[in-house]
């Protein structure tokens, strides 16, 4: 962790934030654990600790599987040093104890000593349990990381894993909302107690539960649970040693490659360079995990915005107008750094003398293909939800304008102001180390420029809804003028920039590869 400070300022910043976050959580948790000592309802405390503790162990075990962390402690890295397996396994475990999550866990589980300080017996049991918990978490996370590393070592599975991870995260949102709606005061403890009563007999909850059970006088259950916990730890340890031995002596898993037949989009889009670039972009949207992330997130963002707006008390009638333009906004904006996604592969466009216009126009194809059905279906759905067919033209016009303006501006910004993007083949979650301020600046500028250019159409739409229906007729005209004006100007300027800045774009790609 000390090494983590010896990096770029932004990483140090991230680490400091992480440390602060960990410290705050630690203080909160330790505080409530200590406070729980004086609370009389021992069984309630027991239930809460078991459920939360089980979630923590599950988190340690599962997160590496989902995200396939970049593992600096991969046993394979050490294979050439010839360290005996058992020594290596122990060393790596100890190293795993260092890190923000582990430190938070150590302090918090130590605090359970206070919670269960009813008598010397429970304190002793709590001490053993806390140590078991910490070791279990660390070993479990090492084991799953090693498994994730070998399972996710192929490109395809890694990418699929990442996208599944995103979907799960997205699904967690509604679950949290659902949990928030539970009336905790009334039946919360009952639900927790129910969960705890079976979690305490699983490897996830046993170690957390043992001292609590003892504090309630149920020593038999406590010892049995401790046994379960120790057995779990022992099995995990054996699995870890075996994995280390295996990983050190086996080569990285080979990728099995899949055969594709035909030329796909290249056959569907016959024509010159523009069509070829369009086909290439389409293929990439379908095959490259970095694009999947934006495709998955685009429909999700409006859902969150709607939830927030409805919770804030806006009438659903008007909220219905929001999602479609928002989806179109993100769709148009999605290609504002498209060129950086190609990384150094862009040389092919440069050495073949591809015209900037062809490059710019071709890259717009996927968002247009996605955008047209979204526009048509979305406008009709929005109008039905809004309940007045008179708004159909202006809703469609606003959304279309936002999309087209976004494409035009993206065409300029990706040729003029590319900023470092995730490299091809890297996990869609890894952000390039050098992104820093320029990325944020380009992102926010290009985003707000779209909003600014689309604002007249929006104003006409709002006027039409609130003042006079006459404005509803003006909105589409403004949308067409501004939208296509921006689109063609963007294509032209972006194309010119691409033509002139070829070597600079190549230098940019080389710098960030």
């Amino acid at each position: 962790m000390g090494n983590a400070f010896r990096r770029s300022p932004w990483q140090v910043f991230g680490l400091v934030i992480g440390l602060l976050y960990g410290a705050v959580i630690t203080v909160l948790v330790v505080g409530s654990l200590v406070a729980a000592r004086v609370v009389s309802d021992v069984s309630a405390t027991h239930s809460v600790i078991v459920v939360i503790g089980a979630v923590v162990i599950a988190g340690f075990a599962l997160l590496p599987l989902l995200f396939g962390v970049d593992d600096t402690l991969d046993p394979r890295e050490f294979s050439l040093f010839g360290i005996p397996n058992r020594t290596l396994a122990t060393g790596l475990l100890l190293a795993g104890l260092i890190g923000i999550p582990s430190l938070v866990l150590i302090v918090c589980s130590a605090a359970t000593l206070v919670t269960w300080s009813q008598n010397p017996g429970t304190v002793l049991l709590a001490l053993v349990s806390a140590a078991t918990v910490v070791l279990t978490c660390v070993v479990a996370s090492r084991v799953t990381t090693a498994i994730a590393h070998s399972l996710l070592s192929t490109r395809r599975s890694r990418e699929a894993g990442g996208v599944i991870g995103i979907l799960l995260l997205v699904l967690v949102g509604p679950v949290v909302l659902l949990l928030l709606t539970v009336d905790w005061g009334r039946d919360g403890l009952g639900a927790l107690g129910g969960a705890a009563s079976w979690l305490q007999w699983t490897p996830l909850g046993a170690a957390w539960s043992a001292p609590g059970a003892a504090a309630q006088g149920d020593w038999g259950a406590a010892l049995l649970q401790l046994l379960i916990a120790l057995a779990t730890l022992g099995l995990l340890w054996l699995a870890w040693v075996a994995l280390v031995a295996r990983v050190v002596s086996t080569p990285e898993r080979e990728a099995r490659s899949k055969a594709y037949h035909g030329l796909g989009w290249f056959d569907r889009l016959p024509g010159g360079p523009t069509a070829a670039i369009a086909a290439r972009s389409m293929t990439y949207w379908g095959r490259d995990a970095r694009y999947w992330v934006s495709i998955v997130l685009i429909p999700v963002i409006p859902v969150f915005v709607i939830v927030v707006l409805v919770l804030a008390g806006l009438p659903p009638h008007f909220v219905a107008l929001v999602p479609l333009p928002l989806v179109c906004l993100f769709l148009g904006w999605s290609i504002h750094n498209d060129l950086a996604y190609d990384s150094t592969a862009i040389w092919l466009h440069l050495v073949s003398g591809t015209r900037g216009m062809a490059d710019r126009a071709g890259r717009m194809f996927p968002p247009v293909v996605v955008g047209i059905p979204v526009l048509v279906i979305g406008s009709i759905a929005t109008t039905i939800a809004f309940g007045d067919w008179a708004v159909l033209p202006s809703v469609a016009a606003l959304s279309g304008a936002v999309l087209v303006i976004g494409l035009g501006l993206s065409s300029i910004s990706s040729a003029l102001f590319p900023y470092p993007a995730t490299k091809p083949g890297d996990s869609a979650f890894t952000q390039p180390q050098t992104s820093g301020a320029s990325a944020a600046l380009v992102q926010s500028l290009s985003f707000f420029a779209i909003l600014l250019l689309a604002s007249p159409v929006l104003i006409f739409l709002v006027l039409g809804l609130t003042v006079n229906a006459f404005w509803l007729a003006i909105a589409p005209i403004a949308a067409v003028l501004i939208g296509f004006g921006t689109l063609f100007l963007g294509l032209w300027l972006g194309g010119r920039a691409f033509d002139r800045r070829g070597p600079e774009l190549m230098a940019f790609a080389n710098r960030n590869d």
């Binding site: 290249f266 990439y284 050495v351 070829g502």
Partner: protein, 340 residues
Amino acid sequence: MAETAEAAAVGGADDTVEEAAPPARTTPKRAPAKTAASAAAPSTRAPRKRSTPAKPRQTTRTAMARTTTTQASEAAEAAQPAAPVDTRPTVLAIDGLHKRYGDTVAVDDATLDIKEGSFYGIVGPNGAGKTTTLSIVTGLLRPDAGRVVVHGVDVWAEPVRAKHIVGVLPDKLRLFDRLTGAQFLRYAGTLRGLSAKTVRARTADLAAAFGVEDALDRLVADYSAGMTKKIALAAAMIHSPRLLVLDEPFESVDPVSAANIIDILQRYTAAGGTVVVSSHGMDMIQRVCDSVAIIVRGKVLAAGTIDEVRGEQTLEERFVDLAGGRKAAEGMEWLHSFSD
């Protein structure tokens, strides 16, 4: 293209009379190339086949030859007054190229004159500026000073026309590797302005020639390093360029494939194409190329035919001399007493 051809024809009328007969020019080259090919690798193809790909070129070359002759003769006069006159026109003229990165001078006044039909090797130690030079030639890097003229077209004045003449294999740059091999070739071909039909025919030919037929339906991302090199090489050739600029084409390619590629390239030069390769494999260069330039620390230290450059030595010995000689292998005695 037509305008310049006319202009050149008017301006350099005297030269064109002598130079207008392409077969006369190509025949003397063919013989050495053929022997070099058979020395490098046993050619499985009948020599008779070589004339087939060359045929369609002939018509355009007569016109094209005129554009270059003026420059060629000028360059020849300026560059090598005493050397035996090489009457072949210049296809790639690099003149006074400079490029610096901050304090580091990557290319320092590089001047090269590469003739049509030659198999030209550029050798140098790591970091000598080979890749920088080739990147400037292919339009990927803007020089600080100097000129690059490809077949009469200035690369930095008329980039689109110049780039059409050149096929490029860069080193250590990514490919669009989420495409299958077939898609990648189609992409490269279409960007070069070929029709889908032409690309399809050439893809089949190239795949057979490079032995990648089985891999056409797999993603380039899943290829081995050698396969990736081969598919990129195929993409560089797909538009039948007049000049091929190949940066480290044989790196990580297996010997059989390398021999195969050399065979293809030699037949290409025999038909009038020009190949520029960079490499640090001296042996390969000496065996394959007819001309060579040695670049050290951005400077061209020697250039000419292989025999001119190497003199009495082997190319490798001459190269090590020019590059600063061997470091005396003293010290490090601990390496000779083994730890177990």
